[in-house]
């Protein structure tokens, strides 16, 4: 399948406005036009179509782009002065996926930088001296797990982290983003992800958490930021991943959820949108694309055969969109051709690409030996189902479908925080892999 090499002219797959023009259809058609231009060299409409195998992920340029800010960031990044841990995470995770070995001299700086951002009352703020926030705490924990050394793990004060997470936990099961902050589903995911990695999950922390997320599932089937609010892929991933960490994905209405998720792939573009009747964006390769591995697990639990499913979306189409439309010639990845690159989009376009290349599946047969947070260790690649569009060198490192750091970094962190219990599970998983 895919979107570049289809029977009919690309335009045939574009949006049908039924002869009635509105703002939404106008934006959509304009976007399609710019994407068609990016696709053109590879399509049948071109006088000399390039083979899809020529689609290349320009890894070196992306590494260069990502590294470009680590020693000196331009004044325009002042806007991210309260998002420093995010910058660290986006940079490190992108490098990690690209297979760039993070050198010791950078690791030392990450550790020191985040040490200064940790709040004395627990959790991480947006920068030194700032109040702790659940999202920046998530990013900081992930960034330190990517560094993956004892010095990095030791930065995190687990006792105060627990206090901080409990201080934002609400009776109805939701989390505020900070003390006095807004409630939304991002809080649930960020809090539970950080707590799972560092092994500080308690019944108090998880009480009613699944019920709150279930209330955020809308009539469309996806999940909104708060009960009643429109279904949105960013919140849907967060809600779903949080439910997976809670072991409670069964609480969702599966039929509408599956349909809504599958409906987010754009017919002509191949990439994903985040909401109904909105535009494609490269970052949804992760937020929407990230739904599918967990959804695959849910469908398997409900008795479906993963063979038939193969992720329920068109993997070629998504990868073609990312490779042909989201790469900047000078490095970095972007939302769509009309937008400029940034570290956020680079991180999430690559995360989505990795998830699309490596089909991750859950080792149901081992779930009894991996209770609670340990079940995160049961995600392994279904190697037969690997699919790398374009040049074989496009293959990225494997990211964890729930925690979004490399699978090997998840293992390492769990060995540190869960000790022997994690070791036993990993051993069993590896035996299973060899046995199959």
């Amino acid at each position: 399948m895919g979107v570049l090499n289809r029977e009919e002219d690309l335009k045939t797959y574009g949006y049908n406005d039924d002869g009635i023009v509105t703002d939404s259809s106008e934006d959509q058609l304009k976007t399609e036009e710019s994407i068609r231009r990016a696709f053109f060299p590879y399509t049948q409409e071109s006088p000399m179509p390039l083979p899809i195998a020529r689609l290349e992920l320009r890894k070196l340029r992306h590494v260069k782009y990502v590294l470009g800010v680590i020693d000196k960031a331009g004044t325009h990044l002042t806007a991210l002065d309260a998002s420093k841990p995010w910058l660290c995470y986006w940079i490190l995770h992108a490098l990690d996926l690209l297979g760039y070995r993070i050198p010791e001299r950078i690791a030392v700086r990450v550790i020191s930088t985040l040490q200064h951002i940790q709040s004395p009352t627990g959790g991480f703020g947006g920068g030194p001296g700032q109040q702790a926030h659940v999202a920046t705490t998530y990013a900081a924990v992930n960034a330190l797990a990517i560094i993956g050394t004892k010095e990095a793990y030791d930065v995190i004060n687990r006792e105060t982290l627990k206090d901080f997470l409990m201080s934002v936990k609400q009776k109805d099961g939701s989390f505020t983003m900070m003390v006095g902050g807004e409630v939304d589903v991002r809080g649930s995911y960020c809090a539970l992800s950080a707590a799972t990695i560092t092994n500080i999950v308690t019944p108090e922390l998880t009480a009613n958490a699944a019920e709150f997320i279930a209330r955020c599932q809308t009539y469309e089937g996806g999940i909104g930021g708060f009960p009643g609010v429109e279904a949105h892929a960013g919140y849907t991933f967060c809600g779903l991943a949080a439910l997976e960490l809670l072991g409670r994905t069964d609480i969702l209405d599966l039929d509408t959820f599956t349909k809504w998720s599958a409906s987010r792939q754009m017919s002509m573009e191949g990439g994903f949108q985040g909401r109904t009747n909105k535009l494609v964006d490269g970052c949804y390769a992760f937020w929407t694309g990230g739904i599918f591995p967990i959804l695959g697990k849910m469908l398997e639990t409900a008795g479906q055969d993963q063979e038939v499913l193969d992720f329920v979306y068109d993997r070629d189409g998504l990868q073609e969109y990312l490779l042909a439309a989201c790469q900047s010639k000078t490095g970095g990845l972007r939302d769509k051709p009309s937008k400029s690159v940034d570290h956020y989009h680079t991180c999430y376009c690559l995360s989505g690409l990795s998830l699309s290349q490596h089909q991750m599946s859950f080792r149901h047969e081992l779930k009894d030996i991996a209770p609670g947070g340990l079940s995160a260790l049961l995600w392994t690649e279904n190697y037969d189902k690997r699919k790398v569009v374009g040049s074989p060198s496009n293959v990225l490192e494997i990211t964890h479908p729930v925690l979004n750091i490399r699978v090997d970094k998840v293992r390492k962190a769990f060995l540190h925080y869960y000790g022997k219990a994690a070791e036993d599970v990993i051993e069993e998983v590896d035996i299973e892999i060899i046995r199959c």
Binding site: N16, K72, G126, T218, Y219, E230
Partner: protein, 357 residues
Amino acid sequence: MAEQKDDVPFYQKPEWADVVPIPQDDGPNPLVPIAYTQEYSTTMGYFRAMCRAQEKSERALDLTKIVIELIPSHFTVWYYRQQLLKELNKDLKTELEWIEWMVEEHPKSYQIWHHRQVIVGRIAQSLFPSTTTTSSSTPSTAQSAEAAFVFDDLSESQKTTVQDLVKSELEFIAEALKDDTKNYHAWSYRQWVLAHFGQGPWWTGELAYTEELLEKDMRNNSAWNQRYFVVTNGFGGLTEEDVQREVQFAKSRIEKTPSNESPWVYLTGILRKGNHSVTEIKEFCEGLLSVPRANFSPFVHATLLDIYEVEAKEQRSAASVEKAKEEAIMLAEKVDSIRSKYWNWRKTQLLKIDVAA
């Protein structure tokens, strides 16, 4: 910056002479050191000094505004400002005017919209302290679906006060939605306003508002979602009369734009919520097949697949399964090939139906 009356930066003024700014402690050789402007680093130095001392003063309040205007995503500053407004017992109406201006500049800031909610929540609480049901509500639980009052229990004059406040909030949000009809923060806050003040007459107006927006752009899914929110949460929930009216409403939009996903999801969503079977719109969908541009809409076929699947499960006949299967094939191969995996999976589900001999 409306506050500054002259060109002298605040820190050169005598009232700041006693404050020693605190430099940012990044540690040695931080990752991603940002090239701050001089103005930014100096201002933040003073902010850190205020914050560390937790000074509760007018100058601290003025400073939070300066910092926020430099970096509206700085959540620590907002929280500090919220505490200052309370401690100094400031006029919250003035605060609302400033937020209005800030929203225009930064319509997608989580912090600004949340601040609005905190402030309006406080105003609501202060209106008639004895009647509030959530008097213990702290800022951290301010975003609650729970209403602040039982509207019907209020006196006539109290009702007017509440109605005026809600009206001005809804107008303010409508203004922001004019620039971006799908602004997620604006919609989120709008739902909070509607619910926070209980079951008042504004719910009726809200239905008309969604209709007005859908008149302009019937593909505005945020407006459809809002409509669903209104009919299922307002007026004591979804009645049979609502279902009938909304089904008609969605159908009439589908007839105009059959390839528009929003009214389709709305239609099936309302039916499900009202405990109606999707088979009730069978005739409607089949009718669309004879409309030239509608018969290629994936949503017509997707809904027919849902309908035929339900029928096949009831009838358990080979013919009924076949009928549903044809729709799945049509979707996978012709009208919605990007989702062929999904439709093929739906097809395999049909094969599991136990056909009676």
